[in-house]
């Protein structure tokens, strides 16, 4: 469960995120939809405590991130924008490093990794060195690394960016499984179909502000449009005009 209230942050006097508020419930997939530079990544970075907000607060399972980063992060897994892996380590070693840092033993990491590798069809990647992996293969290792500690809340920053069809499907299956297990999943994207196909709740962000929030049906009804794309364009331009 994530609760974000009036989160604001500016860089060098330019507002990147202003007064963003939303709630992401357990057992639901919440999509942050917005064009490039809308403030999605900045919002996610504040939720996981890498960026300090100028104002507002982010609560992870009732723990205020700015107050107690350590406890908040224990139940938080994040696939950040930068997915850097260690090229000289194998896939398994990359995942195990993060698992061990989270306090998991090697056996525990292996026990969790095997079914996950199966699910993402990357079992053959685990014991090869990461150098030479394709972008999709890297993304799979990166997601496994991000959720190896089985957090109740998962943040994914454009998780299907640069992935081919098969990898995208595997990723979607994984995201649905996480929801099925009752976890709270938040993912950001600028791809309408993706958000439309996966999300229970959609939060549309434009120019650092939340312009709409609701299920896809609610958004379509609100804007009297037939597709999410039309709804998105309509909502974004409404904001422009309002200014």
């Amino acid at each position: 469960m994530l609760r974000v209230r009036n989160l604001s942050r500016s860089f060098k006097g330019v507002n990147a995120v202003s007064d963003v508020s939303f709630e992401a419930r357990d057992g639901e997939i919440t999509g942050l939809l917005g064009s490039n530079g809308a403030g999605k990544t900045t919002t996610l970075r504040m939720i996981c405590g890498l960026l300090v907000p100028d104002r507002g607060e982010a609560m992870v399972d009732e723990v205020d991130v700015t107050r107690d980063k350590v406890r908040a992060r224990m139940q938080l897994g994040m696939l950040p924008d930068s997915r850097g892996l260690y090229p000289r380590l194998t896939g398994r070693e990359n995942v195990a490093y993060f698992g061990n840092l989270r306090g998991l033993s090697q056996e525990e990491v292996d026990r969790r990794l095997t079914p996950m590798a199966e699910e993402l069809s990357m079992s053959d990647l685990l014991d090869r060195r990461v150098e030479g992996f394709s972008q999709g293969e890297r993304a799979k290792i990166a997601i496994a690394r991000a959720i190896i500690h089985e957090p109740r809340n998962v943040l994914l920053d454009e998780p299907t960016n640069g992935l081919d069809v098969m990898s995208t499907r595997a990723m979607r299956t994984l995201i649905r499984r996480l929801r099925g297990e009752g976890r709270c999943v938040v993912f950001s994207s600028h791809i309408m179909q993706e958000v439309s196909a996966l999300c229970d709740v959609i939060v549309i962000i434009s120019d650092g502000e939340v312009v709409a929030r609701g299920t896809e049906e609610e958004l379509l009804a609100q804007t009297e449009t037939n597709t999410l794309e039309d709804a998105f364009v309509s909502l974004s331009t409404t904001l422009e005009e309002a200014r």
Binding site: R73, P80, G84, Y86
Partner: protein, 390 residues
């Protein structure tokens, strides 16, 4: 604590698999003994087989006695036109040339100083010593003839030698060896700075360049553990490299042919241990500073630029010191690099070194290292470092 070990193990494994890191830690230890043994071999060769004394000579018919004396001392004499003598020396064809004017014979017979012109090139290193040896043969002949003349006139020969100089070289054989051993502190200090450098860059700027810093920072909140683990891995390389370099030096000096050099190069065990004791804190300081400097860099390449400038830090004092080293005093001991350099020199010269000086040198370096590590931990949490990717 547990996180520290996890980071340390991972970084160590990662670094061992990196050819560049391993190579840069091994380059000094591998090259050092080879270089030293090569230098010794050259020195021994020159001592055992001095180059032939060859002299170009004009007007040799004017001084048959002198020429005979030269030949008797294994000087090879080669007749040459008078006007090309100087050029023969200038071009390095001969170490020296001798011009004996016509007046020589007459003046010699009449007991006046007989003139000869001796040409040598004082700037030609490879000929300088040979030319000096030839010159000494001539001066020796002059002295012998002078003595004979005094005797023939019934004058005691000592009359012509009012002062007798006997030079006594007071430097112990250890101290003379120390002159050659000037190499050691330089090599060892460089090894401290070189061996862990690549690892220091890879665990910091490499992390930023690959984009793995952001996900890494999400797993931990104690940046000090992270920094110490990384520093530890780099330090293993720095220490391995510098210890192997020291072992290489000790080994190479042990190979020194004592009978040929006239002194023993053997470094005794207690001195070697104390040098090791001096090196470890310095390596820690060097590595911690490198980790700090490299954290500012967004890419390994950028870090390389900073750190090659940073390498001037040991280079300047060491170069200056190897030309003119001041006498060790208390305030110098805790100055990093300066203290270690002077103390290592003292140890190599076989002199006693105060434990308090060793302690001061170590303490000061470790303090700088701890401050650098602490600063790195502060820096790693900064937004511009986490997200400042190029």
């Amino acid at each position: 604590m547990n996180q520290l070990l996890v980071v340390f193990r991972k970084e160590l494994r990662d670094a061992i698999r990196d050819r560049r890191s391993v190579l840069s830690a091994l380059i000094f230890p591998l090259l050092t003994p080879l270089l030293l043994i090569f230098v010794f071999q050259m020195a021994v060769d020159e001592m055992e087989n001095p180059p032939a004394m060859r002299v170009a000579i004009a007007g040799e018919a004017n001084a048959p006695g002198l020429v005979e004396e030269l030949l008797a001392h294994d000087v090879e004499v080669e007749a040459m036109e008078r006007d090309v003598l100087a050029d023969a020396v200038r071009e390095g064809e001969f170490p020296a040339a001798l011009d004996i004017p016509r007046s020589y014979g007459e003046r010699f017979r009449e007991g006046f100083p007989a003139p000869v012109f001796f040409y040598k090139d004082g700037a030609a290193r490879r000929h300088r010593r040979t030319a000096d040896r030839i010159e000494r043969v001539i001066l020796g002949y002059s002295a012998t003839v002078g003595t004979l003349r005094l005797i023939s006139k019934g004058v005691p020969p000592a009359t012509g030698q009012p002062i007798q100089v006997t030079a006594v070289d007071l430097s112990s054989s250890k101290a003379r060896a120390a002159e050659l051993m000037n190499f050691i502190p330089v090599l060892v200090l460089f090894a401290c700075f070189m061996s862990g450098m690549y690892v220091a860059m890879d665990v910091t700027s490499g992390e930023r360049e690959r984009g793995s810093l952001e996900p890494l920072l999400l797993t931990t909140s104690d940046l000090r553990m992270l920094v110490l683990g990384k520093l530890g891995a780099a330090l293993v390389f720095a220490i391995a490299g510098s210890v192997l370099t020291l072992v290489g030096c000790v080994f190479a000096f042990g190979q020194l042919p004592q009978e040929a050099m006239g002194f023993s190069g053997a470094i005794d065990a207690s001195a070697a241990w104390m040098i090791l004791l001096l090196m470890l804190p310095l390596a820690a300081m060097a590595t911690a500073l490198q980790v700090l400097v490299a954290t500012f860099a967004r890419t390994v390449k950028e870090a390389q630029t900073y750190l090659s400038l940073f390498m001037l830090l040991p280079m300047f004092p060491v170069m200056f010191l190897s030309v003119k080293a001041p006498a060790l005093t208390a305030w110098m001991a805790p100055v990093p690099i300066l203290g270690q350099y002077l103390l290592i020199n003292e140890l190599l010269a076989g002199r006693e070194v105060l434990w308090s000086y060793l302690g001061l040198a170590g303490l000061a370096s470790v303090t700088v290292g701890v401050v650098a590590a602490w600063a790195t931990a502060l820096l790693l949490g900064k937004e511009r470092v986490i997200f400042g990717r190029s």
